[in-house]
Assembly symmetry: C2
């Protein structure tokens, strides 16, 4: 955790037996995930996680629980999100932790918590696993943002229980996990009511919370448990998830770290600290796919697409939080495009099977992490690579791509090619809701249709360039210089300017709740997170809890 003066390397891998802060319980079609944050269980020393407030460690466990509910529990059609504390639901992100954290850590923390909330919404919308929130006490800031990510919110109607986004009045920052956008765009709260609500330290309770659509229903405390369970059962009854299937056990993910090299089974990463570059290589599968979903099930976490999703997911999170100074990620692939395509065929043919659907959605979420990662992304497409279908998405997610035209002198490997599969045409939408191909050809949507005529073909550099799929196609003579210069130049630019530029250029076209959160709300939050009014010596985030009053520069910017 990149706090002032100290660094803790964050590991995103965990499992229920190691949870400090959450309890998972199962009752037929309905699971209950209870938040019970251990005050002394913070990721770093120096703060106490009181009142179910959370830090990144708490959210890592939440993310793990979401993944397991999806993949290990096909039978679960609804999840109740509850607090195990008697008198509080959740007080949001821990303020002392935020007050001590570096700017970069705060921003990264918010990005991860946002992705986790989005995964909850995706489960409700696309995975037949609906989240229901039971609010049994103050539900403030990030606590209410957790509730907002659920499909249905039931709140106790008592004097102690309210929902609130008190960040502006209490802390001089914005709610960091999509709260403002979910108010206006998900729950469509009237803008003047949202304005008032967001300035109320004490929040809103009871009937008014329903009238303003801040929650879905309020019930007497004595009926809270029963009502929430009924709602969850009703939603679970509508699921298309199979009651009798067996899930895939998410056994521990193996990762070897040797110096600046990180190696998983299929994904490897070599860090070059001098140049600030991480070279990430994804290997194609070594054997053909199983014949059917039963075979997928039998392979479990060893099934190549699932393994790649897990490995890339972990690597992206690791590099983001633990390797801030590595500003450019270079993406490569290696192996057989035929095998990649064969797996894609299986994923496409059995898209309706619950486990195949989960694996596709997991790949979608992982690729979306790339889209919102504040690092420059270059694809290098060379002889021996296999940018086909699902792996082609990696190149399409990049800010630019270089494809070697022809063969290398003294190298037997045939010239690099790209290959489109049906998975490139909608299986992995970006946060803006469009496929990467649709996003790429906003000016000429007809080109995407034309590309459907080239499914399965090997496109060499000339064809790929003509089709608009790659940026540059130097030949063997120019390759080394051109790529080296591009990498060196990128490293010489301001990291901040690149972050703003990439966030702007990656999302042309339509906007969604997600793009609004990642590219708009986050930008405002980033700005505010470094304003003296928030983080200066007399700033609100700094003096919170000290009894001192914040002092503000009154000038509006």
């Amino acid at each position: 955790m990149a706090e002032s003066g100290e660094r803790v390397t964050v590991d995103f891998r965990t499992e229920p037996s190691r949870y400090k802060h959450w309890r998972l319980a199962f009752d037929g079609r309905v699971a209950t995930l209870s938040m019970d944050v251990r005050e002394d269980g913070g990721l770093a020393p120096g703060y106490e996680l009181k009142l179910n407030s959370y830090d990144l460690g708490v959210d890592i466990e939440l993310y793990d629980a979401i993944q397991r509910l999806r993949l290990e529990h096909p039978e679960v059609g609804a999840v109740i999100l509850a607090s195990a504390k008697e008198r509080v639901f959740c007080a949001g992100a821990n303020i002392r932790m935020l007050g001590r954290a570096s700017h970069g850590f705060k921003v990264n923390f918010c990005k991860f918590t946002n992705e986790t909330r989005n995964a909850m919404e995706e489960a409700s919308a696309e995975s037949g696993q609906s989240w229901v929130c039971m609010v049994n006490g103050p539900c403030a800031g990030g606590g209410y943002e957790l509730a907002l990510a659920c499909r249905h919110i039931v709140m106790a109607d008592d004097g102690n229980t309210s929902v609130a986004l008190p960040e502006v009045p209490l802390l001089a920052v914005l709610p960091g996990t999509g709260g403002l956008t979910r108010l206006t765009d998900k729950r469509k709260v009237r803008r003047d009511r949202a304005d008032y609500f967001c300035t109320l330290e004490e929040g809103v309770k009871g009937k008014r919370a329903v009238e303003w659509n801040l929650v879905d229903e309020v019930v007497p405390r004595t009926k809270l448990d029963e009502t929430t369970k009924r709602r969850a059962s009703e939603l679970a009854a509508k699921t298309d998830r199979p009651a009798g299937a067996r899930g895939v056990a998410l056994t521990p993910l193996e990762r070897r770290v040797e110096g600046d090299r990180i190696a998983y089974r299929w994904v490897t990463c070599a860090i070059d600290r001098g140049r600030g570059v991480a070279e990430i290589t994804v290997a194609a599968p070594g054997a053909p796919p199983p014949a059917d979903p039963a075979g997928v099930q039998a392979q479990g976490v060893a099934f190549w697409p699932l393994a790649v999703a897990r490995e890339l997911d972990d690597l992206i999170l690791h590099l983001r939080v633990n390797e801030e100074a590595i500003g450019l990620w270079v993406l490569k692939t290696t192996g057989s495009a035929d095998l990649v395509e064969a797996y894609d065929r299986l994923l496409e043919q059995h898209a309706g099977h619950w486990l195949v659907r989960e694996i596709r959605l997991y790949l979608k979420r992982t690729l979306k992490r790339l889209d919102v990662t504040s690092r420059s992304l270059f694809a290098l497409i060379e002889p021996g690579s296999c940018f086909a279908g699902t792996l082609l998405e990696l190149a399409l997610a990049c800010d630019r791509s270089y494809m070697l035209d022809g063969t290398r002198e003294g190298d037997d490997a045939p010239a690099a090619t790209l290959r489109l599969t049906p998975m490139n045409f909608g299986a992995y939408p970006m946060p803006n809701g469009l496929s990467r191909l649709d996003s790429r050809f906003l000016a000429e949507p007809g080109r995407v249709d034309d590309l459907k005529g080239r499914l399965g073909q090997d496109l060499d550099a000339a064809a790929a360039s003509e089709a608009g799929l790659v940026t540059f196609t130097p030949d063997d003579i120019d390759w080394d210089d051109e790529v080296r210069i591009a990498i060196e130049e990128r490293a010489a630019f301001s990291p901040d300017a690149l972050t703003g530029m990439e966030a702007s250029l990656r999302f042309g076209g339509p906007e969604t709740l997600e793009t609004k959160i990642f590219a708009r709300l986050s930008a405002w939050q980033n700005w505010i997170f470094q304003r003296p009014n928030a983080v200066g010596d007399k700033g609100a985030l700094h003096v919170y809890g000290t009894g001192q009053r914040a002092e503000f520069d009154r000038r509006r910017v």
Copy 2:
């Protein structure tokens, strides 16, 4: 100009005879606006406006020219934007000026330049006055953003001429006037090409600029003039603006400043520095409207809706730049709702008349300035007010509204009412493209249709509240306390947090080029504008032109 250490009060009023930097010429249906920036003509001392670089003063003249082209020149169907310098089109915003400017000034400067570019696009799209850009030399940064705001860009095909957005590589900031968004969303440049383009100091010239859709055509230098004129004539031939009509002379706008009171003919503003509040009152017309457009024409700038647009426009710009510490604007109206409605009827009935259309569009632009103003906006709706139709938009633009329920003790004035006119249902779209009513009722669009059934009715506090048009309706007993407390509370919050909160809550629903620019790109720019990598002692903006190299903190945020 709020530079470190010095303050110059900015006056946005000017006229062609006082222009230092632009020349206007007319040739039948086509006007030419030539940029010829005077190096020693900066708004503040300390920088030279070389290479047609600009500061706020240059842009104020541009804005004035746009207004006059629209209102004074009905005959003009196309405007050529050109440079009067031999070897340069425009080098963009002046870097030394930016390097010296305060954070708040930079942000305000970009907001105004963005609004001015949007006005050019609105002229092309809605006013029958198409802008054509003639690029005759380096066209960089804000220079290219000027070109991007035009409908058609013709560029000389020579070794000296290119378009560029070199902000990231040269200055470690983003293009500040919508450049990135116009690349992706207006010209729909492929994202990887946009990425490459935005990292090139030298920009792109010739055929590649056309192939990448950065410009519309390139022609030999010898044909530049002729081709541009032909394009302008072709576009002018399509205009619906009347060739033979007379325009309205925009005579100098009268404004009296007495201490903390600013008074125009219909708009007055009282500043309370202690509380940080500006109370803005708009008065209804004193007499019925003329019978027809000929009468409007005869009244000229005295025509009430045009006068109100000009006065509000000037006041908003003045308060934004010159009164940064006044964080809350309280909007009031006074006078006869019947007369306001009568003017609205005229504006609606003759919407197709060129001058009426211009006045409606001017009101639209002025109301949009409110939407993107980084100040809290409260409406106070009291006995004697006239929030009807066009003036009701003021209340609907506010973050919240207070309407006094009933009469005041000891006051003869009847209870306040609101009145809807057809002008509330689409004449004044917000930057998100929706009417303020549509934006308000995103959750229940049917309510907007229901409101059409109440056109022309006087809605008292109970009815207005029931209809969802106001936030709070205290009665005489509670009014003073409730309003006072709301104002005091607002003043106690962090100005930065309020800015981010308001920018997020005001724009629910769809996104447009404009909302992307104001609420997303601007937020990133604001963030970067205060990062040490840009503005620190060794930041790129600071050391530019000194021969020193910028030093960057390499950590990605």
